[in-house]
């Protein structure tokens, strides 16, 4: 949701209301309508990471029953202020998400607790298992008391295939825009001001050879509840579940 524009709309509407009511005062029972709650900049419901994630343990896990991939090593958000998500054109994303923010950005397989330096600030990687089918990046950032708006998230996971798989596609949804790389090759981009929808876009058919593959994504958001969900689907659109997922 673009809260800035919504705020502008509401301010405009409330202004119009004031003008209208000045001319034609509504009649109602008293003037005791509940006042709007005062803005409370102390978060009333602080996010607890354990409500959304558990710490990854060593070894590998399977996708969930629908094939969604839940184990990720996620970097604390990189600041990228955007007042609106309407800027997320293909060209903008190609420029911003292909930019280099930290060393080894497209090659590193991070471990939990590793740190990278971005614009002089150290950001930490966190190896987590989502408790949901999707990965709630907003909650990840909120729980760590990091910026939740105007950010880029990076996440990495490792897929282990027991056999060669031909014709599979990566199928993803993200809030907001995102890019996806498999073994360093860009395979999917979701552009525009998007909300997360399962199977919102899919890559071209891929061949996953037997063994490990590194899946990497970057999710960018201005104002909004960042998250993503992703899985592999086969030729018939069915989820690929016979893979294992690890952090290394």
């Amino acid at each position: 949701m673009n809260m800035i524009t919504r705020l502008l709309l509401a301010v405009t509407a409330l202004g119009a209301l004031s003008a209208a009511t000045a001319q034609n005062q509504p009649r109602h029972s008293g003037d005791n309508f509940p006042p709007p709650r005062q803005a409370d900049y102390e978060i009333q419901t602080p996010t607890r990471l354990e409500d959304y994630f558990s710490k990854s343990v060593s070894g590998a896990i399977s996708p969930d029953n629908d094939g969604f991939i839940g184990r990720w090593t996620i970097l604390e958000p990189i600041s990228k202020p955007n007042r609106s998500n309407t800027v997320f054109t293909d060209s903008y994303l190609n420029h911003v998400l292909d930019s280099v923010y930290f060393k080894g950005q497209m090659t590193v397989i991070p471990r939990d607790g590793d740190k990278v330096k971005v614009d002089g600030k150290k950001l930490m990687w966190h190896s987590l298992d989502s408790k949901l089918y999707n990965v709630k990046l907003y909650r990840f950032a909120a729980a760590l008391k990091k910026p939740v708006y105007g950010i880029i998230f990076w996440a990495v996971t490792v897929i282990d295939c027991p056999e060669d798989m031909e014709g599979v596609r990566l199928s993803a949804g993200s809030n907001s825009a995102s890019k996806w790389w498999l073994d360093g090759e860009e395979i999917l981009m979701l552009s525009g001001d998007r909300r997360m929808v399962a199977d919102n876009a899919a890559s071209r058919p891929l061949t996953l050879t037997k063994g490990k593959h590194v899946l990497r994504c970057a999710v960018i958001n201005g104002p909004g509840m960042s998250d993503f969900c992703v899985r592999f689907i086969d030729n018939d659109g069915n989820p690929v579940k016979n893979i294992s997922i690890s952090n290394q």
């Binding site: 029972s29 309407t86 089918y133």
Partner: protein, 483 residues
Amino acid sequence: MKSIYLHSSVALVALLLSSLPLMAQTGAPYIHDPSTIMECDGKYYTFGTGGGGLISEDGWNWHGGAERPGGGAAPDVIKIGDRYLIAYSATGGGLGGGHAGRVLTMWNKTLDSSSPDFQYTEPVEVASSLDDEDCDAIDAGLLLDPTTGRLWLSYGTYFGFIRMVELDPATGRRMEGNEPVNVAIDCEATDLIYRDGWYYLLGTHGTCCDGPNSTYNIVVGRSRNVTGPYVDNMGREMLKGGGKMVIAARNRKTGPGHFGRYIVDDGVEKMSFHYEADFDRGGRSVLAILPLLWKNDWPVAGENLPDGTYEIQSERRGYALELAVDFVRMDVPRVPFWQPVTEPVEPIESQTLEDVADTWPEGDIDIRIGDYMFRPHQRWNISAINDCPGYLGGQYYKILIDGTERALATAPDATVTTVPKFTGAPEQLWRIDQLTDGTYRIMPKYVAGHDEPLALIAVADSTPALGKFDADSDNSKWTFHNH
């Protein structure tokens, strides 16, 4: 030429009398997040974000003046018994820096602010969200379940879940002990409706409030249970972002959002919503009302009939409405199909009005229904009338034989005929509603000596008449084709 007027003069008259194509509504229909349209004492009402709302005497021409206190965003209204229950959200939506939202309800005996009965009750809070929880309690939608009499409220926005709670239909308060149920994510302006054993959750996806660039669109999921799970046509849960498109941008208007359903008649339904930007109104947010269609038990936006020249086809047998005049044969050489082609094949010109008009009588000409042969006596020019009151979501049309001013009209004995010249008289004006199955109902505005509504029907394959509309009968249904 007898009843033929020069094409240029017909075109000029058409230009003067016709509306702009596919307008949303006329008047000053400026609103955002219109509540479900309510009829009260012969007028239509809808309320919007920020307070206040619109009124219409005919359902087509709208102006400001509806009164709703409390401000806030995206209200909804439902009539329960002889009272109106209004739900609205006072805060939230990211306003004031947070998502601490509150949904309130209040009653009024009337929506007419000039009535002595017009008085809102004290609003009560029925749902809320704390700052930064996985919900933002704004954008109310109300459903009175016709199968159980239970009252439900949906609310929420992009910030987390869309939730439902149950309200007491007698008080409008939250049912004691009721806990919210998550039913969707990533929507705004949800609404709940019921039809034929299905509950439908409609929500708005896309980008709000960005004028001509707003990608707002209305999607739907359905469930056999009122509390879900709601799934789309792909079986994808709305809790995973699922939703089947009901309407997106069209006809120089972007950003449809905030669905509301209005059942006009058996087989005739309308959907209200706003466009974020009407390009023909400077990109303002406007109220829109379109036919609501049902295809395979899924709702989808229909379309008011655009001006044009059409075959008017009866759904009874598929014959077409035509003047009861001599069929003028086309005198062209007939070539046996088995004869070898030895010369270049040349096209045959279609029969024109000038070819046949001299054979038509002056004065009124009866109509009938016959085999469609794309002949001049079967081609009807249909255009909306701009300068007379309309009806809910539509304008009256004139229906002329193409290229002439000969108009379809009702006669005093409740029959249907054509008159040589369109004058704008009420018996020459026609209401055309797209039905829930995508076909159309054609109704005269006025039939002398008859107060009950009548529709153009087929009483036999070739015989049109005026009669009572029956949504279950193809006798009452028509389609328009330009071919």
